[in-house]
């Protein structure tokens, strides 16, 4: 894997009248890497993608793909980029093979190579059995596979996929993940948007979190976690249910009022959030033990992309609506997963 930059945006800005859709976005993507592009609805993801693929023009700033300037060198960009929009764009009365043949011919893939190329791509995306079906009769998941095949036909350097896992069943999602990783292994660079964050977390090297047109976090997944993790969530499991109330009272006294402490007598569990470091947590544990609390487990809950996303978006967009969501939501997410 080389480290050359394939996609680069520099202070990319887009306004629609007085509405600022994208505010000085600067990101980059290296060859063979997968960028997870996440943000709530209306955050500016699709605007960024449309500028990158040449469907929209930036108000200011610049975006380049393999050195070609987006919006200016459109012919080069079309060859370099494979774009899979969030809608399929189907044609009636066409079989999958005919549909792909049209796009192959449009990209001037020589006729002698076209069928082989179509079959290779269908095989790669697991859609080979669909080639004789009518496009409009396909299920949503099947269409996603055909759309990915169409995107791969002209062998683009960069793949920009808008919600590729949308509508896929769990089995298909696993397969799609493997396909995307395989493509990255072949040196393709991918920009993937998705609302299924655990899926993204499993394939992305790099993550960009965007809200209200502004880039909130950008970098490697671990780096993002470190940046956004200002408070840790700790779970304490007691050896018996009877001590839960006393332990919660003791911890409440130690941690103060902003610990978002929750307790469950049924499972003998207590959770709290804190900004203490490892030494501080070790001290807290020894005080619990000294107080006679019988601790069975004392562990920090790992933070995932979903938590990071919620943490970042909670700091920005949700503050006005909900004054204190950022502490409580991660706990709720963790409980849900447990």
């Amino acid at each position: 894997m080389t480290s050359d930059v394939v996609v680069q945006t520099t202070k990319l800005t887009k306004t629609y009248g007085s509405f600022l859709a994208l505010d000085a976005l600067t990101i980059s993507l290296e060859r063979g890497r997968i960028l997870g592009f996440i943000g709530p609805n209306g955050a500016g993801k699709t605007t960024t993608i449309k500028i990158l693929v040449g469907l929209s023009r930036a108000t200011s700033g610049e975006a380049t793909i393999c050195g070609a300037v987006c919006g200016k060198e459109t012919a080069r960009i079309k060859r370099l980029v494979g774009y899979m929009p969030d809608v399929f764009g189907s044609y009636d009365n066409m079989r999958v093979l005919e549909y792909l043949d049209f796009f192959g011919a449009a990209f001037k893939i020589p006729r002698r190579d076209r069928l082989r190329r179509i079959e290779q791509c269908l095989e790669l995306t697991g859609a080979a059995r669909m080639k004789d079906l009518f496009v409009e009769s396909l299920s949503h998941g099947m269409k996603q596979r055909v759309a990915l095949t169409r995107t791969l036909l002209h062998d683009p350097q960069v793949l920009i996929l808008d919600e590729p896992a949308n509508g896929l069943d769990p089995q298909a999602r696993v397969e799609m993940r493997q396909v995307l990783l395989e493509l990255a292994r072949h040196g393709k660079s991918l920009i993937v948007t998705s609302h299924i964050l655990p899926e993204l977390a499993r394939i992305c090297d790099t993550v960009a979190i965007i809200t209200g047109g502004k880039l909130r976090a950008f970098g490697g997944l671990d780096e993002i976690m470190r940046t956004v993790r200002q408070r840790r969530t700790v779970e304490v499991v007691l050896a018996d249910r009877d001590g839960v109330r006393a332990a919660a009272t003791m911890l409440g006294g130690e941690l103060g009022g902003d610990a978002s402490l929750t307790q469950s007598e049924a499972t003998a569990e207590i959770r709290f959030s804190t900004d203490r470091d490892d030494a501080g947590l070790a001290q807290l544990l020894s005080r619990m033990l000294a107080a006679g609390i019988r601790v069975s487990q004392f562990r920090e809950m790992p933070m995932d992309l979903e938590d990071a996303f919620l943490s970042v978006t909670g700091q920005s967009g949700m503050k006005a609506a909900d004054p204190a969501p950022s502490r409580q939501v991660p706990v709720a997410v963790n409980e849900g997963r447990a």
Partner: protein, 556 residues
Amino acid sequence: MNAIIQRELAATLRSWKAVLLQAIFLACLGGLVLLRWPSEAHADLGGVESRQVFRVFGYGLTIGLMLVSPAFPATSIVRERLQGTLALLLNSPIHPVSMVLGKLVGSLGFVLLLIVLSFPAAAACFAMGGIALTEQLGGLYLALSLLALQYASIGLFVSSMVRSTDAALRMTYGVILVLAVGALGPFHLLKEAAWAGPGLLEFASGLRSLSPFPAIMGVLGDSGISSGAAVAGQTDALRFFTASGILSLICLAATGWRLGSRPMDRARDAGRITDEQALKTRILRRVMYLWFFDPQRRSGLIAPWQNPVMIKEQRCRPLGRANWMMRLIGGYFVLSFALVLGATTMSQSQGVAAVLAVIAIMQVSLIVLLAPSLASGLISGERESRGWQLLQMTPLSPLTIVVGKLLSASLPLALIMLATLPAYGVLLAIDPAQAWIAISAQLTLLLFACMAIIQCAGIGSLFRNTAAATAAAYGVVAAICVGTLFVWLGRDAPFTAKFVELALTPNPLAATFSIIGVTGFSEYRLAPGNWYVMGVMTVVSAAVLLLQVTRLGRPR
């Protein structure tokens, strides 16, 4: 049912298009009456002037309602299906019959409003004198109400059968054209034929009752189209009222039945392909379909010399497939043979010019029917299905896209034009002196076909929505071919001969009639002026289309 009526009517009346339509409708009717409103001291006691105005008013209202009344019902059910709300409606306690009646009343509400809006103009005509209140004014409004009911019912039925809004509009207007104009043909052809027995004539006369024109002409006191001596104007009106009522009931019952018979319960197409089937089946199908015309044949890849957009368009439309093209060509052979037969027999009794006029009417009708349906959705269809975004991402140039799309739309129309050539050949063999007339007439119609395709594509490219594009294209083509004939209807009064000639210049049918020398048109010199006008309109439409495709292809 009430909920559906309220929603349908409110949705229609809320749109700016409805307000615009009402304003244009009122302005046209008001202007028409004002043109002939007596401004001098003497009065026309014979009522000649008021009858002239009433005639133009009556035909205008008829054509207006023919265009408007099926438009909303035709897209009503299919739109629900596409938006996913049909499943919700079918899952509600509303009975399918209530659903159909609700949609009918909701759609007809707007048409009734237009009819009511025409009352002041009708009252003005009546006040000018010479018009009978019950027989003429009452008869006209009864005929128009039944016409609106009939066409709305047909629109609803078609809407329950098709899968897209533009297909619904195409099919509905096609059926209406066949009923309004095509139904007159058999009686017109058979009434002079010596071999046609009374039973056959009666059947043709029954078919004729499906068209509103004989009834409307009877009510307006005009000499009825094709009305023979045995069929009087009053009988025409009564026959139309009965036929219209029965047809409306059949269409409404069929729509209710379709909605009640689980319309969503359909399996996905299995996508069977002959190449994958057993050897015996493969051999059988290849022999039966002569291999190339097998609808289950795996298509060949697009060749480098072919325009990919044209091939894609051909494959997308059912009529573009080889098996359908074969049927079309077969149909054209039959049509061509019938025309040759008709030309041979009719030219002896009615003269070559009359046969040329009949062929011209048929060709113009087919072009008016087919051109908007083939060409109006070429760009808007892509935008609606979001396929445009994908086309934008390919290296295809705007010119390649435009040429490919226009070629795909032109092919079926070219076949229609070709189907008439043998008949022209026969007529020229019978009367070689008519050669120049026949060539000029054919040239006019060829130019019209080109203009219609490019114009409809250009107009359609301005819309995001295929149904709106189709309706607009039909409106423009009908305005050129039918709208200008209203001016001709008032050729003695209120319009002057010069004004009528000017108004008829863009009309290809009128130009063809003037070339052939049809009575009522022979006094106008419309060619070559008509060719220049059509040429300019074609160039302007092509420029609009190319500019719009280029604009849409650019980053926004």
